[in-house]
Symmetry: D2
Subunit: 86 residues, 4 copies
């Protein structure tokens, strides 16, 4: 399973867990349990982000840097980092 399929696999698991969050809200389940499940989905998406960013650095960014074209690719990665930090 390559990185792309690994990411897809995890995204589909995250989607299943998000469906569960929706059902839990519809069924008025205990708020703390809903929050725990929702935070798990966010953790799964964040893990996929790390996989995608890792591949991006090793391919697109590496290619750009070999051509001496650093600025755009660095700016894009820093934007992702800043958004991830809040």
């Amino acid at each position: 399973m390559d990185s792309r399929n690994g990411a897809l696999h995890r995204l589909k698991i995250a989607k299943g867990h998000l469906d569960k969050v929706i059902r839990m809200v519809q069924n008025d389940e205990y708020c703390i349990d809903v929050l725990t499940q929702s935070q798990a989905v966010q953790g799964q998406l964040s893990e996929v982000d790390a996989m995608i960013l890792e591949k991006h650095l090793g391919t697109c960014v590496a290619d750009a840097m070999k051509k001496g074209d650093n600025k755009n690719s660095v700016d894009e990665v820093i934007k992702v980092f800043r958004r991830g930090r809040g």
Copy 2:
């Protein structure tokens, strides 16, 4: 639209955006665009978390505190806060 329906509405929007993340990975779209979309989903879920936590504090936690039963409800909220912080 009450808080429960507001949360459901936002969760369904987040699910639609997660479906889009999945399609973007399937179509090998540009990594940075996928990351931007994935981070948007996480931001939407985090916003739903704030709505759910707000309702929880104003109902379950307030009821527990009126009965002098602080410890369990405080512990649960702090666990959610810690997970949110990483």
Copy 3:
């Protein structure tokens, strides 16, 4: 050691680690090592936040809720939660 002294103790450790971050930047140490140290400081501050919030919920918020004055204290806690999430 009560909660207040526990928080102070940890804040002083965090300050010592922040001094180290400053020295590392002054000495042009390896960026990744500086980032690791800076993220450790942020983790320590976030841990202190959890301690302070825990005490706040168990005292000020509990007192307000016993008086039926939920709204202000809930709003304040949610603002802290949102900022913590980014």
Copy 4:
């Protein structure tokens, strides 16, 4: 003011704000005000992290990639990203 001095300047401001957090706890100031100040320090450190990471990507990582030595530098950046995400 170059990137290194910009980072140092911001770190010293963050240190001044951390000193204020310590004084606020010593003076038993209102918890929510302490949390607001502490979260501001964390935001400042996170902003410095982005500056340091930006410089790191444009120098050390770019140099490594020009030599075809991607793996170590990518692994290091991803570790920073994961820690930043929690």
